[in-house]
């Protein structure tokens, strides 16, 4: 079992919990799975959401998204070929209209090409797989996100990374459906083809504004962006949360920053977490930063409990930003 990823929502006063997981116990290599609990985690049922043949398994990331009207989407990488360094993969979205409780869950969407459950947003794209420092000091291979409008579950966004254009190492894409996943934008939404970036995370606020969190390797720095748009990224507000040296600290193990970050909407805020170089240099955090560990901002140095310097490492950072009107 690999990479469990949880989304939960209180529906009719009970927590509905959806865990996307790459479950190697599923038969026939159809490993993309959603574990569903509609009783607050007391019991779970496990559903393979892969309907097609795979290269022995699907990609690690399986991402659910749930709306208050009991619509549940899930996105996954349907691996069709894998040679150790590249996965030839479909980006697949499934949907369930009853919270995953019906007799045949997650089969509401079928692809016109083969009539099988799961809409193929992109077919047979080439996704680099590297468990070694490849994008800067980070490994790559399975960044994926999906988000649904909480007050209009017909609108759903999906984002992923693949090989992209020639010369790019890893390129992000965001697409949108406004008809419950039946059809998708033919090309990336404006301003969402993003070179040499990873850790994509999407969320939609109560007013329909979509948020996009990602980390881009740019000019020797890891730059963490949170972008908001109320019109599918035709216009957008782009905030840089962090811009830190990408070569410090030296990688000691993988992942370097992490295999994913997280974004969600709560009332009138987007809230999230990401990891970055933790040097206490205010210039690295244009929106401001506070630390819950001992630091000396004037000396730009981390310290221990006795005031002695501590080497820079990678730390998690929490943030919240107001949703744009």
């Amino acid at each position: 079992m690999d990479q469990p990823f949880v989304r939960a929502l209180a529906i009719s006063k009970t927590d509905h919990i959806y865990v996307g997981v790459n479950d190697f116990n599923q038969p026939s290599g159809r490993t993309a799975t959603v574990d569903v609990s509609v009783d607050g985690g007391v019991t779970y049922k496990s559903f393979s959401i892969e309907a097609r043949n795979t290269a022995g398994q699907d990609g690690p990331s399986v991402r659910p998204a749930v709306a208050p009207d009991n619509t549940v989407y899930a996105a996954f990488f349907g691996w069709r070929k894998f040679n150790g360094t590249t996965a030839t993969s479909d980006v697949v979205v499934v949907r369930d209209d009853a919270g995953g409780t019906g007799p045949h869950p997650f089969q509401a969407l079928r692809d016109p090409s083969d009539k099988l459950p799961g809409r193929l947003v992109v077919k047979r794209t080439s996704i680099p797989w590297s468990n070694a420092p490849t994008l800067g000091q980070e490994r790559i291979g399975s960044t994926l996100s999906i988000a649904v409008d909480p007050h209009n579950s017909s609108t759903v966004y999906v984002g992923w990374a693949d090989h992209g254009r020639k010369g790019d190492i890893y390129t992000l894409h965001v697409r949108r459906s406004t008809d419950r996943g039946l059809t998708w934008s033919k090309a990336d939404l404006p301003q969402t083809t993003i070179s040499n970036a990873t850790n994509i995370a999407l969320a939609v606020a109560n007013n329909g504004v979509v948020g996009l969190l990602y980390q881009q390797l740019s000019a020797g720095r890891w730059v963490t962006h949170v972008v908001q748009s109320h019109n599918g990224f035709v216009t957008a507000q782009d905030l840089i949360l962090a811009s830190v040296p990408a070569d410090t600290p030296t990688q000691q193990f993988l992942p370097y920053l992490g295999d994913y970050d997280y974004l969600l909407s709560v009332e009138n805020e987007f809230r999230g977490v990401f990891c970055a170089n933790n040097a206490p240099d205010r210039a690295n955090f244009p929106q401001g930063v506070s630390y819950q560990r001992a630091v000396d901002f004037s000396a730009r140095t981390l310290t221990d409990g006795s005031g002695n310097p501590v080497a820079v490492s990678i730390d998690p950072f929490y943030f919240s930003v107001p949703v744009i009107p």
């Binding site: 690999d2 070694a132 990688q251 993988l254 560990r293 409990g305």
Partner: protein
């Protein structure tokens, strides 16, 4: 007459010394058990009662502040060293006075701008001071205690090993799972990047010597966080190898010299020790 008195004195000494020695051994066993149970062990000096060392720790009559004199055991991720002030939630605060020096056996409680721990047990240091090498009171000296903790870890490692082998690596190559077992192999970010070392056996310290003089030892070369601290073997590397039968890589057998043999794994930091530790390992094997 003199010889009878001497004989009698000898008996008395023996009678008096035996319970003392028993208490000493019992104390050592208790300390070893406490040390094993504890995640953080340190020697320190009590500086404040009913106080805490950093904001965020709930202050109570049970919390005391201790200045660290020496750290004996801690997880690598915890920053703790001589001179740090630690909050200890003790079991019996009336047992402590400012200036008292003790060894604290603890588990982690709160980690923030400082460290707070919960007491599992303590030993007051003889004479109120930092325990010294060769302490005559039955309290183990710092060096002895550190060795005791280290020996306990090593004893656990020996106990959990199927084989303990002294030998030399003659070859290292990438190992890929055979097609017959490939269904059990899965791709994830946590993949081990298995490599196989051929280990030439010099002697067996624990377990039954495998057939032949060589054996296959699988180890993860991956720098993934799950595997980064596993031993990474190189050709000609010698030492003491603590091995388990392979239940991880997907195939429990290996081929050496055309023969099918059991495959072994070496996964945890410390599953290899240099030859300089041979005497210590042999000594612990006798216990």
């Amino acid at each position: 007459m003199n010889s009878s008195l001497s004989f009698l004195a000898g008996i008395l000494s023996t009678v008096l010394l035996v319970p003392s020695a028993a208490r000493f051994l019992e104390g050592q066993n208790n300390q070893a058990a406490l040390a094993k149970q504890s995640s953080i062990v340190f020697s320190g000096t009590v500086s404040q009662l009913g106080a805490v060392s950093f904001v965020g720790v709930p202050q109570s009559p049970q919390t005391i502040v201790v200045r660290v004199d020496s750290v004996l055991k801690k997880p690598a991720a915890v920053s703790l060293k001589k001179g740090d002030n630690v909050t200890v939630e003790v079991k019996d605060p009336s047992a402590f006075q400012p200036g008292a020096q003790a060894t604290f056996y603890t588990e982690g409680w709160i980690f923030g701008s400082g460290v707070a721990v919960k007491e599992l047990g303590h030993d007051f240091n003889a004479g109120g001071g930092v325990p010294a090498e060769g302490s005559p009171t039955g309290q183990p000296a710092l060096g002895q205690m550190q060795k005791q903790i280290s020996d306990q870890d090593l004893q656990d490692r020996i106990a959990s090993s199927d084989l303990v082998v002294i030998g030399r690596i003659t070859d290292v190559h990438r190992w890929t799972i055979p097609k017959s077992a490939a269904a059990r192999y899965h791709v994830s970010e946590h993949s081990a990047d298995w490599h196989e070392a051929v280990l030439q056996i010099k002697s067996i310290l624990k377990g039954t010597k495998p057939k032949g003089n060589k054996m296959a030892v699988r180890f993860p070369l991956s720098r993934e966080v799950a595997w980064v601290n596993s031993p990474k073997f190189q050709k000609q590397q010698q030492g003491i190898f603590f091995l388990k039968k392979d239940q991880v890589s997907g195939d429990p057998t290996a081929s050496i010299g055309g023969y099918q043999v059991d495959a072994y794994t070496s996964l945890k930091p410390g599953d290899w020790l240099p030859l300089s530790d041979e005497a210590r390992v042999r000594s612990l094997l006798k216990n």
